[in-house]
């Protein structure tokens, strides 16, 4: 049997204009229903209509410093933003700002909603993770279990009971999202013994069922961890060791093919605008931007988000693309 071939093509690009140095875009996310893409740039949110392919509106947040990440509420009605001004904002798309969440004592780096949309988790350079009550806009819990900036948090949307975090201290931790207790720490014995010391974590992302965790570290290595067993089950290496190393936190995500018999795909971006896709099952490289498309002009791919067969990539220079992924069964020809 021939495996269907994987194709990734640019469907469209979203125009962004960078006028100030503080205007850098940092995060682009599909709405849960797939109708829109929200991009944060500086202190503004840009809403892009995926169907009509137009910029729908530009919303000015109340942040005084740039936003580092945004997150859609599961009901598509709100966008939460985490900013360098130590605060978070929850904004309703129809009614405007709902809450300004104050409590972190350093820039807020990452955030995510739980599956029901009633809790918001945020992580910050103050080394803590905070849990917020979305309805009342109040702080519920502070989880302090890292010794460096916590740069990424994720919660499995289908099972909101476990929260994962990745930190510059090189640790990946799993928490009980209701009690805040640490359930497990994922580290490699070898990571500690490595010559250069700990490798900071750049991003963590749960698999659909929450049993596995996709992790990218600043050495540019992408791994899939078994959360329950606590060991690595897949390692993905791209480029050479020097060119792979990251200065910026470059994006990763899972892409789930609509044909469920096919293995999910790992999509990863790198420092000089390179994009790679692997089959998560057999680690086969399915796509590499090297010598393919001339996208992102060598600028770091800061954010990757997948939904259905679409991939949205955003680089620091303001280039933002929507890609279409598809599998084509090709009949082998004898040429």
């Amino acid at each position: 049997m021939t495996m269907p071939e994987f194709e990734l093509t640019v469907r469209g690009s979203i125009p962004l204009r960078i006028t100030h140095s503080e205007d850098v875009p940092t995060s682009a996310k599909f709405s849960p229903n797939g109708e829109k893409i929200a991009i944060c740039q500086g202190t503004t949110i840009i809403l892009y209509d995926v169907q009509l392919r137009v910029t729908e509106s530009i919303l000015q947040t109340s942040h005084t410093k740039p936003i580092s990440e945004l997150c859609w509420s599961p009901d598509n009605q709100c966008i939460a933003t985490a900013s360098d001004d130590f605060t978070l904002e929850i904004r309703h798309l129809t009614y405007g700002p709902l809450h300004r969440l104050v409590g972190h004592t350093a820039p807020v780096v990452s955030l995510c909603y739980n599956g029901k949309g009633n809790l918001l988790y945020s992580s910050s350079m103050d080394e803590s993770i905070k849990v917020w009550d979305v309805l009342n806009g109040i702080l519920m819990k502070t989880i302090s279990a890292h010794s460096e900036s916590v740069v990424s948090v994720d919660i499995c949307p289908e099972d909101s009971t476990v929260l994962s975090s990745g930190s510059f201290d090189g640790l990946i931790r799993l928490f009980d999202s209701s009690s805040g207790h640490c359930l497990k720490t994922l580290t490699y014995d070898k990571d500690w013994k490595s010559e250069n010391g700990v490798v900071p974590i750049s991003q963590v992302r749960f698999s659909k069922n929450g049993k596995y965790l996709l992790v990218k570290s600043f050495d540019g290595v992408v791994k899939i961890w078994d959360c329950i067993g606590g060991y690595v089950v897949r390692t993905f290496l791209a480029l050479s060791e020097e060119t792979r190393a990251l200065k910026h936190s470059c994006g990763i995500d899972f892409l789930y093919p609509s044909d469920e018999t096919l293995a999910p795909i790992v999509v990863s971006g790198y420092e000089h605008g390179e994009l790679f896709c692997w089959n998560s099952e057999n680690k086969k490289l399915l796509y590499s931007s090297m010598g393919n498309d001339n996208c992102h002009s060598g600028s770091p791919i800061i954010s990757i988000h997948c939904r259905d067969n679409l991939v949205c990539t955003l680089s620091l220079n303001g280039e933002c693309y929507v890609w279409g992924a598809r599998f084509v069964t090709t009949v082998p020809t004898s040429t």
């Binding site: 530009i58 000015q60 009614y95 405007g96 109040i138």
Partner: protein, 377 residues
């Protein structure tokens, strides 16, 4: 609530009780335990010791911004606990409850970047002068090159006309700009008619809310009020029936009061009458499932009741005529509560829609103004 204890910062040495230099016998201060050399210090509100700005890692330029200062030991709860609690600063936390904090608090700084003076009351600036400077700076940064306003227009004039367009009035209306009432006012359509049509006039949410508003105003609310009236009318009717009963009973009661109990013999009937005597007021339950139309007139009803009262009927013209009806007890007050609640909830709902409409419009107005100003040539 007790102030939360926190640990000392890494740069702060452990607490020492030393107040005098063991060699010279001079007073020593701060965490560095040195004598006063004239270097700028700040007094702790918790323990009355003095601390160097440099030792506290507070830049000297912030000296006028300290509102209240607590040293690391007081913040960690090591010292200053014996002070009466009333002296401690209270601050409102997120839930609005007052909590006591032993924490250094700061005054708001002037908006001008290089100025470290505290703001004057009800102002964002330390002085009028700095307010002017700040705005001049903002104006200088304003980029109107992309706006289709003609080349000769200078920035200052452009801003001025923009303000005047928004409001025909004067300086007072300028002051109001940025306050909520300003943004709640209808926007001037003329700035961009097309944008107004697409953004505000055709906004789905606004129209939906206006629609809901009119449904309540013309449908729900008057209907609920009408039902309250009808029910009150019926309750009135029932109480008239009950009054009539009592009139009849009383009149008959007074005439043959002495004989009545003797004449009636046995059975339920005599029990009933006895009950009536001790409790002179006779009341029928009066429950009816549909009260929109009144049953026959009071007199007729009572007449009919008198005719049938010995037939063991429980309802007459669909009205429950049991005198002690447990099942329907309190039905009238309950129904009245229900309909009054409907009126109240409808009124509250109306207020809520009003608020939503205002909030939505405010968002649209902000977008409108932003788009107008950003609009490219």
């Amino acid at each position: 609530m007790q102030a939360r204890l926190s640990s000392l910062p890494v740069w702060c040495p452990p607490y020492s009780k030393t107040k005098k230099d063991p060699i010279t016998g001079e007073d020593v201060y701060c965490i560095c335990k040195k004598q006063d050399t004239g270097e700028l210090m700040v007094g702790c509100d918790g323990c009355d010791d003095w601390f160097h700005f440099s030792c506290m890692r507070i830049p000297i330029k912030y000296q006028k911004l300290v509102a209240s200062f607590y040293c690391p030991y007081c913040q960690a709860g090591i010292t200053g606990m014996d002070k009466s609690e009333a002296e401690e600063k209270t601050v409102e936390d997120e839930t609005g409850d007052a909590i006591k904090v032993r924490k250094t608090l700061w005054k708001k700084k002037c908006r001008l970047e290089d100025c470290y003076e505290p703001c004057t009351e009800r102002s964002k600036y330390c002085s009028r002068q700095h307010g002017k400077e700040f705005l001049q700076e903002v104006l200088s940064k304003l980029d109107i090159s992309g706006l289709n306003v003609g080349e000769s227009v200078d920035k200052e004039a452009f801003v001025k006309t923009l303000i005047q367009q928004n409001d025909r009035d004067d300086f007072q209306s300028f002051i109001r700009a940025g306050q909520s009432e300003f943004i709640d006012k209808d926007v001037p359509k003329s700035l961009d008619n097309q944008l107004y049509e697409s953004l505000i006039a055709n906004d789905r949410k606004v129209n939906e809310l206006i629609n809901q508003q009119s449904i309540i105003e013309t449908g729900t609310l008057p209907k609920a009020k009408e039902r309250v009236e009808l029910l009150e009318k019926y309750i009135d009717w029932i109480s008239q029936v009950n009054i009539k009963f009592n009139e009849d009973q009383n009149s008959s009661g007074t005439t043959d009061e002495n004989s009545s109990s003797k004449i009636d013999k046995g059975g339920k009937k005599s029990k009933k009458k006895k009950g009536l005597k001790t409790k002179p007021k006779k009341r029928i339950c009066g429950y009816i499932s549909n009260f929109t139309e009144l049953p026959s007139s009071v007199d007729k009803f009572v007449e009919e009741y008198e005719l049938h009262k010995d037939d063991g009927l429980t309802t007459l013209q669909s009205v429950c005529i049991k005198t002690r009806c447990i099942k329907h007890s309190e039905w009238s007050s309950m129904l009245l509560d229900r309909y009054l609640q409907e009126v109240e909830l409808a009124e509250r709902h109306q207020e809520r829609i009003q608020l939503l409409l205002q909030t939505r419009k405010r968002q649209l107005h902000i977008q409108y103004y932003e788009k107008v100003t950003k609009k490219q040539s």
